[in-house]
Each structure stands twice: as C-alpha cells, then as structure tokens.
Symmetry: C2
Subunit: 167 residues, 2 copies
C-alpha cells in the first residue's frame, strides 16, 4: 500500500481504537480469507477511500459526489432532460429528483418544462450555478491532485485507463 | 467497453427508456465533460455494476455484499471482536451492530462476551452459518466467474493487482 494512504489508514485506526476502547492486541491485522479473491471487495475499498477524500475536500462548498456529477453533466449538456442525466449517471429517478431539488434550492440549476411536455424537464445551470461550479471544480482538482500524489500519477492514469475500458 | 457489459447496459437503457417514456433522441450519449478526468467516477461506475451482479447472483440466499464480507471475516478469524471486524472492513459501529443482529437472527453467527468484558464481543459462525456459507460461497464464485468472463480473466487479475496495491 502507498505510504501516505497507509499513514492515513493508521490514523483512522488509532481513532477507531480510542473510540471503541479495544485492547491493542484485538486490532492485529485480520486474515481476509476468501474475500481476498473478490474484485468487488478491493474496488469498494478504494472507492470508499476516494469518496471520503472527495467529501472532505469539497466540504467548504458542501457538495457530495453525486451532486458534483450531476452539475458537471448539466454543464456539459445544457438543456438535456432529467431522464437523460439520470440514465447517464445511473441514478434512480426518485433519488435524482431529491438531488435536483437541493441544487435548485441553492439556486444553482433550473428546470424548464421541455417542449410543452409536462412530464419532461430540461436542465440548465443558472449564472450562480456557473459561478459556484468554478469554486467547486477548483476543490475537485485539489482532490484529484491528492489522488495523483497518493497513488502516484502514473498508477492513477493506469488505473483510470483500466476502469474506462469497462465504461 | 466489453461487449457483454455493453449488452447489459443497453438492456438496462431500454428498460429505463420504457419506464421514463423519454423520446429516443433524448437518450443520445451525453458528454462527460470534466467528469472524464475523475478516477472516482469510473471507480464508482464499475463498483456499482459489480455489486449489482453480486446482489442478483446471491439473491437465492438473500445476502448483501457487506453481510458476505462479515461472514467471510468471521470464518477466517473466529473469536475476534466486533470492533476488530468493523475496523478491518471499515464498517461503522452502529451499522455493523444492525448487520450482526440480522446474521444472528438467521442463526448464522453467535456473539460471546469476550474475557468477561461486557463491552466487547467475540464473533463465531454457528454450525448453521458454516453450512449456509458453503452455499453462499458457491454463488459468490459464480459471480466472480461472471466477472472474469465479462472483463476477461487477465484483465480481471490485472485490475485486482492494481487495486490490491492500494490496500
């Protein structure tokens, strides 16, 4: 494991130990057993670490990963429908509706009835949304730089290439 | 993207289209924009696909990924504490307690007060838990075989090696 990530995990462990008042011998490394053969387990571990850092880094703007994805997709595809955005990001309809409601409440996006079709809404960033997104992207770039530093720039790119192959 | 995964995604799309009654032109591929540079986005996409298949494949035993991880860790480390299992899997305490309660209710695990310490519990599989785990592992192996077929055996291993480097 990378040294920085190790150091962070070790710090997390110390906090967890203190919180749970466990004797140190109880925290020896456990055997993974059959789990060691499951890709999903390792995928999930890295994904959780990455999302934790994202949330921590974006805290000044109080933006979660799914909100960020939606803002970027609306920016890159202005006027596309709620359904199209939901499909592209595989966010289920009710969850997307709640998420858009929050972004609308913050004045960052607007929904317009599309082509007189009451069921469908086109999504746009507002001027305030565009401004907020400049600051949000700057924080997200800091997160991505942390990742490059943590994993190594080359390994980050290799991993990204591997993952992109699968869509 | 791999052909099988593509086919599955396309089928998911058709269902989503039908459900949301969107005109086909509304479902053209969207631009990813800045999202295209974020490792977390691609990590999350593959992780969600993998977990979906896991849940579908394990449905006959009604076992979720986190429950499966906990069962395997108890199997590989009998008698270890609730806190140690939670730390190893990075599951927060309240969520782990609920999860263990379910597994206990199904008669698969037992919690024993450890060393007369009322706060700490040692975890064991029951005989019924061991028996269930045989069937659960057989289904999980089927899921992993699907992954090897979907991603290609070699690419699955490469990706696993990459991810394991990061712990």
């Amino acid at each position: 494991m990378d040294t920085r990530l190790k150091r962070q995990r070790a710090a997390d462990h110390r906090i967890a130990e203190r919180d749970s008042a466990v004797a140190p011998d109880q925290t020896d490394r456990l055997k993974l057993g059959t789990l060691d053969g499951h890709l999903g387990y390792f995928l999930r571990r890295l994904q959780v670490s990455v999302f934790k850092d994202f949330i921590r880094t974006l805290a000044p703007m109080d933006v979660r990963p799914a909100q960020y994805s939606v803002l970027l997709l609306i920016e890159a595809n202005p006027g596309r429908s709620q359904a199209a955005i939901g499909q592209a990001l595989e966010i289920e309809r009710a969850r997307l509706a709640r998420l858009l409601h929050v972004l609308e409440g913050r004045g960052w996006i607007e929904r317009c009835a599309a082509n007189g079709d009451g069921r469908s809404h086109s999504l746009y960033l507002t001027r305030a949304g565009e401004k907020a997104l400049v600051r949000i992207k700057a924080l997200a770039a800091r997160h991505e730089a942390w990742l490059a530093e943590t994993l190594g720039s080359k390994r980050r790119l290799q991993l990204m290439d591997h993952l992109k192959e699968f869509g």
